[in-house]
């Protein structure tokens, strides 16, 4: 049976890591374990359960900074921010939807460790862009911090960026500070119905190249749109192309009208208001079209330059079948395919080889994630540098070994 270390304080985290180093015992570092399905299975005899390091320690809305324990549930963060009409602007996806686990089980530390974001990242970036500072215990068993609790900081190396997206392989965070922002006063979504790929591309390029501050742009082929819980979308019977506009009321009105005019030559235009708009973008954010009946499909997240999206999407479907939809503004393709032992990894990476970018396997059985490279393999010199960075933090390979790369 796996032994669980469950520290209550940062000091106990330090003790636990020191002990693990002295015993040469790798640790599976986790908050609530909601993202255990993301990344390669960790080969560790013991779990370092951080769930007691939870709670918001400092939050002053006027400063736009929130500090909390890494295991603070996202639901708690979201509620505290909502009370003052603020939010995490990078709109992190809730991966429990994709995994079919308890909704809202994720933690703030997990969101940062996986560098999650949502459709708004074209405008506001991902978790890494809002991650200001942290305290942690390195895999050497040393306490260190980086960054701070202010928004503008050029003081020493920005180790926060390295921590974001490192899946707990570099250090165990014991406190994190993030930038928060006011919630938009109003949100609306303009839908273009039935556009083929060429027209959707043209319409979205026009919208994103405008000064209307589009905060989300997506294209759902008809078969994917049909699975939406939003009636306007599923009932369309066609492909649905969407852009989101947010901000003060009069501004949203103005920009929506401009975008409707801009879309009109491409086909029929609809508009989603607050509730439906929020529901639609949550679906896009959480890869909801690939849940429910599609739960047995493997899911990839492919990141390419936005204009490469449709070509890559078409090639993926031609080679491997399955379905795609586009979180267009961010050049993100969500791709679901029938389960197979290698998850189609080699084919997928062949498709994107010439256009840059990378593909990440975000849902597959553990044995598949064990066998296929979950994260994009890096060219030799870059892989070597990444390995040296890992060793700079965790020379003994104590923290989440193998989670990102086999043998590292």
């Amino acid at each position: 049976m796996t032994e669980i270390l469950k520290p209550d304080t940062a000091d106990q985290v330090l003790d636990a890591v020191k002990w693990a180093v002295s015993e040469a015992t790798p640790l599976d570092v986790r908050g609530t374990g909601s993202k255990a399905g993301f990344g390669r299975p960790v080969q560790a005899g013991r779990v370092l359960d951080l769930s007691n390091l939870a709670g918001i320690t400092d939050y002053d809305p006027g400063e736009l900074v929130l500090t909390a324990g890494p295991a603070t549930p996202m639901t708690e963060i979201e509620q505290a921010l909502a009370e003052t009409n603020q939010e995490l602007a990078f709109e992190p996806m809730d991966m429990s939807v994709l995994y079919g686990t308890d909704a809202g089980a994720g933690t703030l530390g997990g969101v940062i460790a996986a560098n999650l974001s949502g459709p708004r990242r074209i405008k506001t970036g991902a978790a890494r862009d809002h991650f200001l500072g942290f305290q942690a215990v390195s895999g050497r068993g040393e306490v260190f911090k980086s960054g701070g609790k202010v928004m503008k900081n050029v003081t020493g190396f920005d180790l926060s960026k390295l921590m974001a997206g490192s899946f707990g392989t570099l250090a165990v965070m014991t406190q994190v500070s993030v930038k928060v922002l006011p919630r938009p006063e109003k949100t609306r979504t303009i839908l273009l119905m039935g556009a083929d790929d060429t027209h959707a591309v043209a319409a979205l390029c026009d919208a994103l190249g405008s000064s209307h501050e589009v905060a989300g742009a997506a294209h759902l082929p008809a078969s994917v749109a049909a699975r939406s819980a939003v009636g306007y979308v599923s009932g369309a019977g066609t492909s649905v192309t969407a852009v989101r506009v947010e901000g003060p009321g009069p501004s949203v009105e103005h920009r929506c009208n401009s975008l409707r005019d801009l879309f009109a030559p491409f086909g029929a235009v609809e508009e989603l208001h607050s509730h439906n708009s929020a529901a639609f973008w949550r679906e896009v954010r959480d890869a909801a079209p690939f849940t429910g009946d599609w739960q047995d499909h493997q899911v990839w997240r492919v990141s390419v330059s936005p204009t490469a999206g449709p070509t890559v999407g078409q090639h993926l479907r031609a080679r491997l079948g399955g379905e795609v939809y586009y979180d267009w503004g961010g050049g993100l393709i969500w791709f679901a395919l029938d389960a197979r032992s290698d998850a189609g990894a080699a084919d997928i990476r062949r498709v994107i080889r010439d256009c840059g970018g990378h593909a990440t396997l975000v849902r597959a059985a553990a044995d598949v994630r064990q066998a296929a490279p979950v994260f994009q393999p890096q060219p030799g010199p870059l892989a070597d540098l990444s390995k040296r960075v890992k060793e700079a933090f965790d020379p003994e390979g104590i923290l989440n070994p193998g989670r990102m790369t086999a043998g590292v």
């Binding site: 669980i4 990242r121 190396f157 180790l159 501004s251 009105e253 990141s303 330059s305 010199p381 960075v389």
Partner: protein, 495 residues
């Protein structure tokens, strides 16, 4: 400023190194003449000067790679340099190091409106990026005050800011990818036109690393469509605290302006007498708040900001009614440094960030320090993000004044850290603040940062003596002190 002891062996090999460099970079790309080297003896922090061993100005990535490989193999240090506008001495030369200037990397390579990005060489100026795309209504958002001269490569090295940071982010939030060369000559690409980096975010740690990790040879930046319109409002207050509270109230109302700047009375008077921007002279603090976006949004928000300011006790309010008037509002703020230069023979421009709510306390303590050191101070402040720029006035010709000014500056930065802030908001650490790093970081914090340095540049050939007060050898940093039995068995609940 104590710098690492120059390696006499390298200095003795100067002729040989010059020959090797000339073999890589022909023509005028290698500068070895003392008179010409003088142009490179300092960057924007002119208090510290040192002639470099030689200056090399490569034109291609292949040349950069060859230069670094040669230096790596022959134990020669490198100081990378962009436009030399840095304010913390990050490009201060070393007597035994080659200064590697990237000024010839000055081409815009690719403008990709469909993907809203531009690929440029690192020597292109910050404003040059915007100039390349503004004809089509686009711009590059981060705008340091030196944007007309500073290079985009230097911006990445320093993670430079500007007045737009609160709404549009710092450099680190606007760079998509780079081509870089490691000290051993390895050429790497990090990121690209896609948004999410894969693997460890090495681009993120490279940004703001002050030339200690690698040499940037190509940059991909995000470009944005210009907002339809912008308007600014001037708001005057009886105290800086009230001004600071007003900023918090604006943000609490859910408004993130394109820029919020604050000046204290000495700064207002100095700039008004210089540029005649029309600032009120009888207020203790002046806010410039700029809203940008569609006209309807700007008109709506500027009214709301006005109402909020009135509620916060503003005693002066004036909204720009034309583009000329908006520019006039900004002209004072943008000329604050030269304006202070007119009323004092010399000044030191400090740069620290504080939590905004501590502004009143910090300004009060600064006034006390001003009395203690017998030196005047004027304050300009990126109020939206808490980035202070105290300008300490002194006369270098008066014995001891420079030392007093430096001590005053150090006290201000220590205070910034004491109230929960940081040593630098946008100028970086360089040599200027290097010895204050211990105020903010523990020895273990600094060691961990230097271990990252070791992953990129194990022999410390790149820009040594900058940012970190003590140089640890990588072998020493690699030591582990933990082994079986040395750590008490922790009392941790198990299940």
């Amino acid at each position: 400023m104590l710098m690492p002891k120059p390696d006499q062996g390298v200095i003795d090999r100067r002729a040989e190194i010059i020959a090797a460099m000339r073999a890589i970079v022909p023509g005028e790309g290698v500068i070895a003449d003392d008179a010409m080297l003088k142009a490179f003896e300092c960057d924007g922090l002119m208090a510290y000067r040192q002639l470099p061993l030689i200056v090399v100005l490569p034109e291609t990535t292949a040349q950069v790679s060859e230069i670094l490989k040669y230096c790596h193999d022959n134990g020669v240090k490198i100081v990378p340099r962009g436009a030399g506008t840095g304010l913390s001495g990050g490009a201060l030369p070393l007597a035994d190091a080659i200064t590697l200037g990237l000024s010839k990397f000055n081409r815009v390579l690719d403008i990709d409106y469909a993907n809203r990005c531009a690929v440029v060489q690192p020597g292109v100026t910050n404003l040059g990026v915007t100039k390349a795309v503004e004809g089509d209504g686009f711009y590059y958002a981060p705008d340091p005050s030196s944007q007309i001269a500073c290079s985009i490569g230097g911006n990445i090295a320093e993670n430079s800011g500007g007045v737009h940071c609160l709404k549009y982010g710092l450099t680190t939030n606007n760079v998509l990818g780079v081509e870089m060369v490691l000290m051993d000559g390895t050429v790497l690409r990090l990121g690209g036109k896609h948004l999410d980096p894969g693997g460890y975010d090495l681009l993120g740690v490279l940004t703001g690393s002050e030339g200690l990790l690698g040499v940037i040879t190509e940059v991909t930046v995000r470009i944005l469509k210009k907002p339809e319109t912008a308007r600014a409002v001037l708001l005057g207050f009886n105290s800086s605290e009230e001004g600071g509270d007003c900023v918090a109230a604006i943000i609490n109302a859910g408004i993130i302006p394109g820029g919020i700047e604050m000046m204290d009375k000495p700064a207002i008077h100095a700039t008004e007498e210089f540029v005649h921007a029309g600032y009120p002279m009888d207020v203790e603090a002046l806010l410039i708040v700029e809203l940008d976006g569609p006209k309807v949004e700007v008109d709506y928000l500027i009214e709301r900001v006005g109402e909020i300011a009135t509620g916060q006790g503003a005693i002066y309010s004036r909204i720009s009614e034309s583009e000329e008037e908006r520019a006039a509002f900004w002209s004072g703020r943008k000329n604050a440094f030269p304006a202070v230069g007119r009323i004092s023979p010399d000044y030191l421009c400090m740069d620290g960030t504080i939590p905004r709510k501590k502004l009143g306390l910090v300004l009060q303590r600064m006034t006390e320090m001003s009395d203690k050191y017998g030196l005047r101070v004027a304050n300009v402040f990126h109020a939206g993000d808490g980035n202070l720029h105290p300008l300490i006035m002194f006369d270098a010709n008066q014995p001891g004044e420079l030392d007093r000014a430096e001590e005053f500056g150090a006290d201000i930065l220590k205070l910034c850290v004491e109230v929960g802030g940081v040593l630098s908001g946008e100028h970086g650490i360089g040599v200027e603040k290097r010895d204050l790093m211990g105020e903010m970081f523990t020895e273990d914090d600094l060691k961990q940062q230097q271990r990252v340095k070791c992953a990129f540049d194990p022999d410390h050939h790149l820009n040594p003596g900058k940012v970190y007060p003590t140089l640890h050898r990588c072998a020493e940093l690699g030591r582990m002190h933990i082994s079986r039995g040395q750590v008490p068995f922790p009392d941790i609940p198990r299940f």
